[in-house]
């Protein structure tokens, strides 16, 4: 860590003040003419930052920027970095543990105030994180585990900022089960079987399914589709084709996979299927608003990246000790459906790339 600032220079109250200023800046930005769909323009948020404080420098890496989820995380970190006077330097994981490892290996000797990593694969970044620990640079794990929980401290991971994957699976599944009246056949389309997020969502589905004995999961259980839309669509169609009676519902581990499959039920006996998913970003929220998706539970990508950044700057500016930081911080995400329009509207606002807050 570079010349840690004395404790008291930044505290939570002053942070809240800056947040208020930042929200003001975001509100101003919201009124500006912005490019459609694009992330917030570089250099847009100018005010509300940690003015007068030393500028911090943070290394960020997440799984792969070709994913909309990860790309939005980068936009979030950069937006809030400007507001909090933190220079965010990005290293794309490219969905390849080896490439990500090489990139992080290359930067362990550079000057950083803190680092935030979402490892493509558990343990793959353990060695470079140990080097960062030797230099007393705080490392924050985002979304998925960098190392097993019992090895976090010894490796140099200060805290893991993560969504509650099990809750997300439970939330969307419960909504579906209740909407179908607790009986009938359902489809369960999963992400990547090795992904801890997908495992959590599956656990959530199973937890709820146990309470509904009259619901049969087609195909014998979850169909792992590696987050791939084509694969999900093919599997989904095959299961639709072999059923002669309407299928009551379907739960998908991601909105993207669900949206890719929805056209397959049009003009079929399954057209009234209750479809729920997880992610709750722009595409999913729009689908809920249009009545295509029954519900989605927000996987708060922005909140994860924003919280990681905020915690990182606190750790440095307050010169906090690792022992005072909890090992895990859960970032909550609500269930969004047309039943609660106010939540839907709020999520649209918070998930907007201009705000990057959920």
């Amino acid at each position: 860590m570079n010349e840690p600032v004395a404790p008291g220079v930044s505290n939570r109250r002053s942070f809240l003040e800056r947040m208020a200023l930042g929200a003001g800046a975001a509100a101003v930005l919201a009124g500006c003419d912005q490019p459609a769909n694009g992330p917030a323009p570089a250099g847009a948020p100018g005010g509300g930052g940690a003015a007068g404080q030393k500028k911090l420098r943070a290394a960020f890496s997440n799984a792969g920027l070709q994913s909309t989820w990860c790309s939005l995380g980068k936009t979030t970190a950069e937006l809030w970095g400007k507001l909090l006077n933190v220079e965010v330097v990005w290293f794309d994981g490219e969905f390849d543990p080896e490439k990500q490892r090489n990139k992080i290996d290359n930067i362990t000797g550079d000057q950083w105030d803190f680092c935030c990593f979402q490892a493509v694969q558990i343990d793959s970044l353990a060695a470079p994180v140990r080097k960062l620990k030797e230099r007393n640079i705080p490392v924050i794990s985002m979304d998925t585990m960098l190392v097993d929980a019992d090895k976090m401290r010894e490796t140099g991971v200060w805290v893991e900022v993560t969504p509650d994957q099990v809750f997300m699976g439970e939330s969307s599944t419960r909504y579906m089960m209740e909407k179908i009246g607790g009986k009938g056949k359902v489809i369960h389309i999963g992400g990547l079987s090795a992904h801890s997020g997908a495992q959590g969502r599956r656990q959530g589905f199973d937890n709820v399914h146990k309470k509904f004995p009259n619901v049969e999961v087609l195909g014998g259980g979850v169909r792992w589709c590696d987050w791939k839309k084509e694969k999900a669509r093919d599997s989904f169609e095959a299961m639709l084709a072999q059923e002669q009676t309407p299928i009551a519902g379907a739960f998908f581990h991601s909105d993207d996979m669900a949206l890719a499959c929805l056209p397959a039920i049009e003009n079929t006996i399954h057209k009234n299927m209750v479809v729920t998913a997880v992610d709750g970003q722009k595409e999913g929220l729009t689908a809920v608003k249009e009545g295509k998706l029954a519900a989605t539970t927000v996987n708060p990508v922005c909140l994860i990246h924003q919280t990681s950044l905020v915690i990182g700057q606190f750790l440095v500016r307050n010169a906090e000790k690792a022992e005072t930081v909890p090992l895990e911080i859960i970032t909550p995400g609500p269930l969004v459906s047309l039943d609660q329009k106010s939540v839907l509207d709020a999520m649209f606002f918070l998930a907007d790339p201009l705000h990057c807050m959920v």
Binding site: Q66, G220, A241
Partner: protein, 341 residues
């Protein structure tokens, strides 16, 4: 192009429809159909035909271009990312303020839609053309050049979209998802019609044009072809350009089927398309194969893929293993039978 007339196709294009090499994929297909008919319910139905046609259409389109490239003894590793680029460009243009605007909510005319589809396809041809030119000029294997082009197309797609998902013209969604009702609940998918047109065009070019014969000659024995007056460099460039075009069409149809375009599409397209072409019996070393064989390979692969998805009594994690085993067995039998010829 040389004026030399070639009356016989060198290499080993089948003289009869039932030579050993043609029998292998056909036998594989028959075995698979019988097997899945026995172990899954309602497999022998028009729904199965519709789904196989729909799920195999993109593979068929892309495989046509790959067949040209493989026949002339080259390979194109960039088909997946060129397909992705083409769809991304179409989506970005569609959501531009000059077209349907953000979210693709605005209405646009038929002329604009045509332009939105043709312009990306022109760029996909340009990718293939450039790969061909660089292969010929550098004298490097097309494997290397198209490997680089694969990253060029991916990088451009990422830069263009910033990883954001884009909507597509309704026409593409219709091509990907709708079909013509033929009675008894059977719909002939529009995507399969596109695939059929592309395959027929490919078949006609290969079998009934001088260019087609030159493709076989170039792949069968490039030096002999060159001495016979065939401008083999131009053949290679043209085949890679055709491959770019079919990759672009495939990318558009695939994205239309999925209703949106995003960077995570077409990840398996290259390897699946190569598997289809080789499964049909087209040689990886050039000069031997046909569009009919590719069709057989696509149908076999699609039936296998669909059938495995229909089986419910197996561990889901074993599906890729089974897919691999069946493919391996089919390819080995194919190779053994070919040696008997």
């Amino acid at each position: 192009m040389s004026t030399t007339e070639v009356t016989e196709q060198p290499g080993a294009t089948p003289r009869t429809p039932f030579d050993w090499r043609s029998l292998a994929p056909l036998a594989t297909l028959i075995v698979l159909v019988i097997f899945f008919g026995l172990v899954t319910s309602n497999f022998f139905s028009l729904v199965t035909v519709e789904k196989v046609l729909n799920q195999g259409a993109v593979l068929a389109i892309v495989s046509v271009g790959l067949t040209f490239v493989l026949l002339c003894g080259e390979i194109d590793l960039s088909v997946g990312t060129v397909a992705l680029w083409t769809a991304c460009l179409c989506g970005v243009l569609f959501e531009s303020k000059f077209a349907a605007g953000p979210g693709g909510k605005g209405a646009i005319g038929a002329g604009a839609v045509t332009l939105l589809i043709l312009l990306p396809l022109v760029t996909s041809v340009a990718f293939g053309f450039l790969s061909g030119c660089l292969t010929v000029v550098s004298r490097l294997p097309s494997f290397i050049i198209t490997l680089a082009m694969m990253n060029v197309a991916l990088g451009l797609a990422r830069y263009l979209t910033l990883s954001v998902t884009f909507a597509l013209p309704p026409l593409l969604k219709s091509v990907g998802n709708d079909g013509s009702a033929l009675g008894a609940g059977f719909r002939f998918p529009n995507s399969a019609i596109v695939a059929a047109v592309v395959m027929l065009a490919g078949h006609f070019i290969l079998k009934h044009t001088r260019f087609g014969r030159y493709v076989y000659m170039t792949g069968g024995n490039r030096e002999a072809a060159r001495l016979a007056g065939v401008r083999t460099e131009r053949i290679v460039i043209a085949c890679l350009a055709i491959c770019g075009l079919t990759a672009g069409i495939g990318g558009l149809v695939n994205s239309g089927r999925l209703e949106k375009v995003s960077l995570d599409q077409n990840a398996d397209l290259l390897l699946n398309a190569v598997a289809c072409v080789v499964l049909g019996g087209t040689s990886l070393f050039g000069g031997e194969g046909s569009m009919l064989r590719t069709l057989l390979g696509v149908v076999t692969f699609s039936v296998l893929h669909y059938g495995l998805n229909r089986i419910s009594g197996i561990n889901d994690l074993m599906r890729p293993f089974l897919l691999g085993v069946v493919l391996m067995v089919a390819l080995v039998i194919n190779g053994l039978l070919a040696r008997r010829k």
